[in-house]
């Protein structure tokens, strides 16, 4: 320090509003709140998940029901776990479209320029979708209860069934997060989502018992994660084995996370 160098023409920079950085969880919850607020602003965003369970029930019970099982009441009982899972599966697809829109509209540019966890916008979106899942399940139970459906295993088991279903949906939604990030347009996201969904949903024990299927299809259906999930939920709602299918379901859920969370994060970092 020999001479007094010319002082730059600045006042002291103001301190940042607050230096403690909130946790990644807090950030994810804030972004989940954002998505829930969006739903509140336009409740029609819940239209798909509220109508689907009703349409599926009516369609399968009354259109196919007579042909498949004779008595539609018995078939309704068989069908409820399957429809519950189906509606959850289709509800997961929406996240890809929503994320794709966010990116094209530039909202994510703002998030990416903030000092927040990279994962927060994606985790927030996954968390917010619980509202969609819960809506579809509430509508389904209200509708089928009115039609005479009753669970046999008691309320705690039924609650557990719902939680398992939602947890699995949250894991599966990472597949659609990834698709939503790598595919360019929202329309294509939807198309690819349905393509992936149809064999999983319909090649399962949702509509008919696996034993009635031809052998080659049984091989697929028995190993379909959706079958394991439906069997778990059927066990919890109507009785039957739970531990085995639950273990398989948990394994599949873990696999989905291990594969698609890193893929989605990588796609998110790359997407400009």
């Amino acid at each position: 320090m020999t001479t007094a160098t010319a002082t730059p023409p600045t006042t002291a920079p103001r301190p940042a509003a607050r230096t403690t950085s909130s946790s990644a969880l807090q950030q994810s919850l804030t972004l989940a709140w954002r998505n829930v607020v969006k739903i509140r602003h336009q409740p029609e965003a819940l239209m798909d998940v509220s109508l689907q369970p009703i349409i599926f029930t009516v369609l399968f019970v009354f259109v196919f029901g007579g042909a498949i099982a004779g008595d539609w009441h018995d078939y309704l009982t068989y069908l409820v776990p399957g429809i519950l899972v189906q509606t959850l599966m289709f509800a997961t697809g929406g996240i890809g479209v929503a994320l794709n829109n966010d990116i094209t509209k530039g909202v994510f540019d703002r998030f990416r320029s903030l000092p927040i966890a990279r994962s927060a916008p994606l985790v927030g979106a996954v968390l917010a979708d619980v509202v969609r899942y819960a809506t579809s399940i509430v509508v389904l139970f209200a509708f089928v209860t009115a039609l005479g459906f009753r669970t046999t295993e008691g309320l705690p088991a039924a609650v557990l069934a719902v939680l398992v279903g939602i947890a699995f949906a949250m894991c599966l939604s990472w597949l659609f997060v990834w698709i939503g990030l790598v595919v360019r347009s929202a329309g294509a996201v939807q198309g690819i989502g349905f393509l992936a969904m149809f064999p999983l949903v319909f090649g399962s024990s949702a509509l008919v018992a696996v034993d009635t299927l031809p052998g080659w299809l049984q091989a697929f259906t028995r190993n379909n994660p959706v079958t394991h999930l439906i069997d778990t939920i059927r066990g919890l709602l109507l009785g039957g084995p739970v531990a085995g299918p639950l273990a398989w379901t948990a394994g599949w859920a873990a696999l989905l996370l291990v594969v698609f969370v890193p893929l989605a994060m990588r796609a998110y970092r790359r997407r400009v």
């Binding site: 509003a17 950085s21 807090q26 909202v107 703002r110 927060a120």
Partner: protein, 324 residues
């Protein structure tokens, strides 16, 4: 003392398109760096690299001494960004947009609301704060976007064409806001198509063209580079135009040009010629409605440097024509 914004040799290509071809930028603390350039010059790309949204293929950039590529989180904690296209969430209200960002930055709920109220007031959005941003006009949206980039009181602010689409009053408000921030020590990098804006706000200006810096300096330095001043005359009676042109040519020795309104201009070395022109015109009994000598505008400079105007949509085409 290190510059607050310091970039050297930034290069970035989108496939075949060379968006940045070795760009150097620097801005000392508390100054405004204006980045001028025609469409496609690489301004937005440079801003996105500096704001950690894009990674340069080569070169380095530091914000307050932190490398944007290796310490992006440190950099994000220091910067605010208003992108070229408003990045507000249209389904949220103005207030919710600001509260969300405050919460993401770790403010408590009451703190985030207080900051939102403050910013809504500062940007004349108090009344609209409760409305969904979808219902905002273009200018309101841009103001909200600007407010959103200030929630964390950034030390470095990137503004990518912040006043495009704003009416003159809103533009002046944005300029005042920028001046206020700079007075408080914020360093601002601002891209613009409006030469007047760079003239008003920027301490230093760099001119981009096709991914490279083609000129840099203060507004006055850049104007001085084109040298000559311009003398303009408009005769009251258009019939006098030929005689006016003759006078201009005699005095300046250069060939004058005339625009559609009948205003003739000619480059002159200094304002001393004004007297001579005036004497000759009055001597011949020519009445004029306009007679002036002006410094070159940044428009002139821009044209001289890039070979095409600031609003020129197809820079490459005009260049090819010039070569052909």
């Amino acid at each position: 003392m290190e510059n607050t914004i310091e970039a050297t040799g930034l290069e970035l290509s989108y496939g075949e398109t060379r968006a940045l071809a070795g760009v150097d930028l620097s801005a000392p603390a508390g100054t405004v760096l204006g980045v001028l350039g025609p469409n496609g010059a690489g301004k937005t790309t440079a801003v996105r690299v500096l704001a950690t949204l894009l990674r340069a293929d080569s070169g380095t950039a530091r914000i307050c001494g932190h490398d944007v590529a290796t310490e992006p989180d440190r950099v994000r904690g220091l910067i605010g960004l208003t992108g070229q296209y408003a990045s507000v969430d249209e389904d949220l209200t103005g207030r919710q947009n600001l509260v969300m960002i405050g919460r993401l930055l770790g403010l408590s709920r009451p703190e985030a609301h207080a900051r939102a109220t403050e910013l809504l007031g500062q940007f004349s959005l108090t009344d609209a704060g409760g409305r969904s941003a979808k219902t905002y006009s273009g200018g309101m949206r841009r103001r909200l976007d600007l407010a959103a980039s200030l929630v964390n009181r950034p030390r470095v602010l990137f503004l990518d064409e912040p006043t495009t689409g704003l009416d003159p009053r809103s533009r002046n408000e944005v300029w005042d806001t920028v001046r206020g921030l700079v007075d408080d020590g914020t360093t601002v990098l601002l891209t613009t198509q409006y030469l007047e804006e760079a003239d008003e706000l920027a301490d230093d200006i760099v001119v981009f063209d096709e991914g490279s810096v083609v000129a840099r300096g203060t507004s006055d330095e850049l104007k001085a580079r084109t040298g000559a001043q311009t003398l303009t005359v408009r005769p009251r009676d258009r019939a006098d135009l030929p005689r006016v042109l003759a006078v201009l040519q005699q005095v300046s020795g250069a060939v004058p040009t005339t625009d559609a309104r009948g205003t003739s201009s000619v480059p002159v070395p200094n304002e001393a010629v004004l007297g001579a022109v005036f004497d000759r015109l009055t001597g011949q009994g020519i009445a004029v409605s306009e007679l002036a000598v002006r410094l070159p505008s940044l428009d002139d400079v821009f044209f001289a440097l890039t070979g095409h105007g600031a609003e020129d949509e197809t820079p490459t085409d005009s260049r090819q024509e010039a070569l052909a």
